[in-house]
Amino acid sequence: MTVNGILQIAIYLIVLLLLVKPLGGYMARVYQGERTALGRALGPIERLTYRLIGVNPEQEMGWKTYAVAVLVFSVFGMLFLYALQRLQGILPLNPEGLGDVSADSALNTAISFVSNTNWQGYGGETTMSYLTQMLGMTVQNFASAAAGMAILIAFIRGLVRHSTSTVGNFWVDLTRSVLYILLPLALVVAVMLVGLGVVQSFSPYQTATLVQPTVDATGNQVTEQTLAIGPAASQIAIKQLGTNGGGFFNTNSAHPFENPTPLTNFLEMLSILLIPAALCYTFGKMVNDTRQGWALLAAMLIMLVVFGVAAYAAEGAGNPRLTALGIDQAATNLLPGGNMEGKELRFGIPNSALWATITTAASNGSVNSMHDSFTPLGGLVPLVMMQFGEVVFGGVGSGLYGMLAFVIVAVFVAGLMVGRTPEYLGKKIESYEIKMAALLILIMPVTVLGLTALAVVTGPGKASVFNPGPHGFSEVLYGFTSMGNNNGSAFTGLGANTPFYNLFGALAMLIARFWLIVPTLALAGSLVRKKRVPTTAGTLPTHTPLFIGWLIVIVLIVGALNFLPALALGPIVEHLGL
């Protein structure tokens, strides 16, 4: 680790924290229907939207109606994206003449993007036409992010309101998320990215004449380089802001056209955590106690920093096997040093390790370095960040409602210890709430570990493994951990574009997204009916450092109990053998 590396991480966190309050406060005003600066300009468009889709914005929904609206919206999104990929060969804006996507791959990708996972079994520049990237990927980047935010807001209303039965109107929450939050932010970030060098063009791929001609494997002279381009910046902005993570190109944000400079890297990293972090403040505002929001943010931040620095230390130490070959891996001002396999020089070790940590803390899943080539402990960090259930920031909306499920469990366990009825924000936590919270927390490890076990005992599951030994097991575990948590990053050595991984992965992504949305909304529906109980001396305060520490312990213990055996078989044993 170097002083400059620590400085880069510190400045990133400071800038992020400075943006939390302004954006979080703005989002709270948007969702509560208060006046905002953009509201005056975009209000007519919002009202026109409701007229066109025939929705009365004043009409509130119960949790079941809300859930059905989410599911119907998602199913139609999935069908459209599937059809678009299957027909892209005959559709316009396909200058490279790319063919239709195979059925299993198209299904996996449709579910992947609608579920906010953005797992990519395909290579962007060799598979998807410009039209598919725009109408398919970009649209679902907005839609799935907005749906996650809407569900969070419905959940918060469940906590705020009392003695009623409705949690808001899904179409209104969705429209406001896109129109007032995602679209303006994406437009600003996209234009900044173009200015800093990210491509945005509808021209066909460019051809360059090589400075030094070369010879290919069959002995033919090669004098040209084909440069894949496309309308990338518009997609990258929303892929980061919406914690989607699906890249325009195969190597995602490691690709110089997707992430050309350290400054674009900073901007993209900032975009990943911006909304999930600010939503904590939005939550505090909406429950009329901003300390509650800051407490959740503090818990997330502490875990992020500890694990991020651990990843940086592991990657910075380099690969002992290369040291044995006499390779210089010491970091200086002239050499990034460390484990540079799979990393881009302009980012170096600190930006690669930090990105890996935040992209898995948030369920973003974009990468600026190849996680498969990380050192065992460096690769353990992103794996563990996902295995916490994507609650350390997590997906936009989904991360915070996941964390609130942990809060409910934390309050419950604390209540058991002191023998009091657990409460959170004036709502009694009873057996129904605990059942739903337990479902929210336990569905994920069952999916992830079950499918990993299936993959490592079946032929098609094992055939896709690339690296030998325990690292190969880590590839499979990482794959299902990523899909089972709607993350989308990968140990990309795993050849996942096969019917086995496409279909079982699609199953994992569906479960992770929609089987969790239903209990979340059910929880909201139950909480919203409860009366508010007054705060007394016996109420457990949920904004103190003690509670923050307690919440972290609960997240760590649940995560560790579920996954330690599997981690021991993968990265830990690999580390010991290195």
């Binding site: 889709i53 139609f76 999104g77 290579g123 520049e125 970009t138 649209v139 896109v178 996209a190 234009v191 173009v194 200015g195 060098g197 491509v199 945005q200 063009s201 021209s203 460019q206 360059a208 400075v211 030094q212 070369t214 380089q225 084909t226 440069l227 894949a228 910046a233 518009s234 190597t251 490691a254 690709h255 110089p256 056209f257 050309p260 400079t261 890297n265 380099g318 290369l322 070959l325 891996q329 001002n333 002239l334 990034p336 540079m340 396999e341 990393k343 881009e344 020089l345 302009r346 930006n351 190849m370 050192t375 065992p376 690339f466 030998p468 030994g469 690292h471 990309t492 690999e574 053998g577």
Partner: protein, 184 residues
């Protein structure tokens, strides 16, 4: 609702970004292409493969079927414990020493790590200043230039950390090699 979203976020939004990009940043939006006499010879952002002793070499690239295939970016995905990684690194070290020997240069300094490890994209345009310095003697000898001349070209094509603290100091290999060719 979905149709509206497709229209606004799938068409209007990317077209608006494209239009702004074309007007305000045409060079960047089009891929930061380098043209010589009107002909595209590469991009400032995308590396090219070099294995001639007369040129500076860039990061190893794991793209297929050729290194630096900018139509199909890829990393090696080799794990740290994979023997294939150790073997690949050893082969690259040997190739670097062989290139030195072919022009009668002997460089016994340890090889900087970025010169023997594949980049994430397979298209990394940069090497570290240390990796450039390691190659100065070879390039100078192969081109009958003084090491000072080559070193000053390296310095001209070296970028510092952005804003003084972001990222890593780096040398653009394609631009450096074009500057070398322009010298002669």
């Amino acid at each position: 609702m979905l149709a509206l979203l497709i229209l606004v976020t799938g068409l209007v939004y990317p077209l608006a970004v494209t239009a702004i990009g074309r007007v305000a940043f045409p060079h960047q939006a089009g891929g930061s292409l380098i043209r010589v006499d009107g002909q595209v010879v590469g991009s400032e952002l995308i590396g090219q493969a070099f294995d001639d002793p007369r040129y500076f070499w860039g990061r190893p690239s794991a793209t297929t079927p050729l290194p630096y295939n900018a139509a199909a970016s890829a990393g090696s995905n080799l794990g740290p414990s994979n023997d294939a990684l150790t073997l690949a690194v050893q082969t690259r070290v040997d190739a670097l020493h062989a290139a030195n020997a072919s022009v009668g240069v002997d460089n016994s300094a340890p090889v900087p790590v970025d010169l023997v490890t594949a980049s994430g994209s397979g298209l990394d345009p940069h090497i570290s200043p240390a990796a450039a310095e390691w190659q100065v003697a070879r390039v100078a000898r192969a081109r009958n230039l003084s090491e000072g001349q080559v070193r000053s070209l390296v310095a001209q094509n070296t970028q510092d950390r952005q804003l003084g603290f972001l990222g890593e100091p780096r040398v653009n290999v394609l631009e450096l090699n074009m500057a070398l060719d322009a010298l002669q």
